[in-house]
Amino acid sequence: MSEHKTDVPYGTLDLLILKTLDTMGPMHGYRIARRIEQVAENLLQLNQGSIYPALIRLEEQGWIRTRWGISETSRKVKFYSLTRAGAKQLSVEVRNWERATALVAKFLEASGAEVKP
């Protein structure tokens, strides 16, 4: 089964994190990673660790913010949540993504038609 798993498409991890925080509200890092894996239903090869640099990057951009909270194992951990700018950025990235996939889809369709004799 593992041979069917794909890597996270380049540049989409940010989008996945933003979307996750948007639907689920504030979460800590481990929950975000698990949530992405669950939604992907094992189709995705995610290094859970790669989440943290992404979270820091997003925080630096001002798209998410952190608050200290207590984990299920009673540790002090950071809970991440979406900022207003982040919500706006999410909609921009969703639109970009849709446009890109639509473009690729159209391209594939067109090329397919041409191949036909």
Binding site: H28, G29, Y30, A33, R34, L46, N47, Q48, G49, S50, Y52, P53, I56, R57, E60, Q61, G62, S71, E72, T73, R75, K76, V77, K78, A85
Partner: protein, 880 residues
Amino acid sequence: MKPARSLGFVARRFAALFRKRRLDKELEGEIFAHMEMAEFDAIAAGLSPEEARRQANQRFGGIQQMKEEHRDQRSVRWMENLSRDLRYGMASLARDPGFAAITIGLLALGIGANTAMFSIVDAVMLKPLPFPEPERMVRVWESTPTGHNGTTTLTFLDWKRQSDIFEALSVENPTSAAVATGGDPARILGKQVSTDYFQVFGVKPQIGRTFAPGEDHPGAAPVVVLSHAFWQTQFAGDPGILNRNLMLDGEPHRIIGVLPAGSFDRDEARFWTPLIFAPDQMNRGQHWLNPIGRLRTGVSIQQARARMTALRASLNDVIFQKDWGFTVDPFAQLLVGDTLRRSIYLASGAVLMVLLIACANVANLALAKGATRRKEMALRTALGASRGRLIVQLLTESLVLCVLGGAAGVMLGALLLGVAVPLLGTSLPFTADLSMDLRVLWFAAAAVMAVLILAGLLPALQTSFGTLSNALNQSPRGSSGSNAAVRRTVVIAEVAASVVLICGAALLFKSLAKLQRVDLGVRIDHVITMSTDLPSAAYPSPASAARFYEAVVQRLKAVPGVEQASVSQGLPLQGVQWGEYLSLPGVKDFFLVRLKLVDPWYFGTLQIPLESGSGILDRDRAGAPPVVVINEEVARQLSNTFGIRNPIGRTVSIDVPGYGPIPESRTKLQVVGVIRSERTAALNAPPELVAYLPLAQAPRQDIKLVVRTQSEPASVMPGIREAMREIDPHLPLGDVMTMEQVKQQSILWARQPTWVLGAFAGVAALMAALGLYGVLAHAVTDQRREIGIRMALGARRGDVVSLTLRSALSMLLVGLAGGLAGAFALTRALKSLLYEVSTLDPAAIALACVLMTLVGLLAALIPASRAAGVDPMTVLREEG
């Protein structure tokens, strides 16, 4: 909103750099919690603890690798970026050395002028006085209904007795003495001071001691304290000079101490001797002392004032001026006169405006350069560079420029200061320590940062703005829309600021020209003057002094090239030292007149015309009936106060000054003549009431020689010196100045701010012209294609030139309008510096506008002629 966010991004990056350690620790905690939760979940799913840990590790990916990535994300890359940006910035400057040179030059000019100005402001107004506990230093005055006045000897001694208020209270009296220095005797300035003078300043001698109590009592052995500079130049810093004698006016004075280097070296005085009050000075009539004091620790100015008010009340019976009081003011406050303060404010404002204009120019240059780099920026954005990253890069490039400009500016500032210090010289208080110290460097650093923000941020935001498609599409052709508009606006603002400065300068120059043309009442061409002081030892009696005057005039007249010579106390324009009350015998009323003591040839030498009666004659000598000549102002006042229509022949009473120990005495004088008023005081002050007494009847030791020459005065000076040596070889001549120099010195207060503002206005106008040139040249480059098409369609060269000039004119006119509005608002600040010129003088303001327009149009001619030189065929072909 966009720029704000980008700035926030930059700020967070900055913050991250300093939070590095804490963030690392936080991240470690997060990873630990993550692994714990992952293991926990795996155990809950039924795995053994070992398997759970293995799975958690595997799913997390390499921990170390992740940390690296994270760190890279945060700080290391930031530093790398900075150094890359710096290198990139230097490289891009090296690629465009013209841009770099102009920018650095503009910034150096702006920052240099500001740095120099700041060190003046700092030294004169901001820094505390260079003495211990300067807040305890005070000046004590008599307060008159209109201001302040000095006090009398007896009143000063009353003040001095308030020793629970004053730790020290001292007066100073300027003096001078002949000191033999090798060849000719030289006149050295000094001060006679109370013995506790140096306690007031808290200054301890470098070697020896300062004055001891009692050394200012009559009959005390003469002692002298030297300045450090004098000790160095005259005695080569020889420590063995203590207790040796210094001959002052031929009298031995024992050297008891030398002051430390510093403030007192900037004082005009080179030596200090105790001030011993003469018997005729022990009165309450002669207001000649300006005491300075040091309050006792814990005594406030208010307490001191209250005490002085109480003292004044107790002395009411003996004080003549019933409406005068006593008052105490901080010393620091009074060192800087109103005129100097206003001049400094004015120059500071002007120099700040120059810096703003320089910033505007630099910003415009960067914008123009940015316009050509838009493609590069857009491409980098498309390749994944964030906007913040680009702004940081552009700002780093500006930082390189600003730091280089700042460094050049500091050097230029030091240079300017080196030039300014000797020019300003005596206009600044002697306590002002002008130097490029650490405070000045801090100021320069702050100026660099301000310039970076002002001149770097706008272009960075503008340039980093925009998308790839726009940039790629538009760049080769039409002008870059909003960018050009921004740059035009900046130029308009520059023109407006320059117009304000030029208006100010034009007003000041007009006022200065009026001052120069004021009728002095004397002919000053071909007149040379010098001062001397007759030592009491060689000239003990009034008769000996009178004989000297006569000998001098006789001998000087025989010098080839000398037309006329005279001796007087005081010169025109330098103020008259003596003020006395004039009254009529038996009449109660009186008024104040200035007393000038002149010989029979004074009026003739300076060509002061006689209105009626006679001047001072050769027969008006000691023993002959005392006479007085008055000026028109006194004649008018006589008529107003006493109803005297024809003053000739009338008798008036005036206190005539004494000679040496001989006290002044009230004397009845016969008015023998009325002369036309000469300007005795400042040119912008109304003529004073002056009474002239024959020098032979009231001889003085401190005198001036006034000589009218046939040719250039300087060429006659050797002959004059030779003649004086023949009369008295020990008598030094000081202050050798032509009357023209005396006049220029008397209007120094007006000349200095005028030339300073004029220079700044000139620089500002040139910078604005440069900005205008830049925008137009850029526009012509941008519009070559358009111009080419126009010409291909039949436009003539003249049309193309007028197109560019019209564009220049439109910017100039808007700038002029803005500048005039600014000038109307700001020239009011000049009011006190203007003489008979309104702050809205139409001629001066019109001149300013014409000048700015001319300079602007001249700057526009170069791009205009370039536009006319466009060859339509070439342009159209190259753009395809």
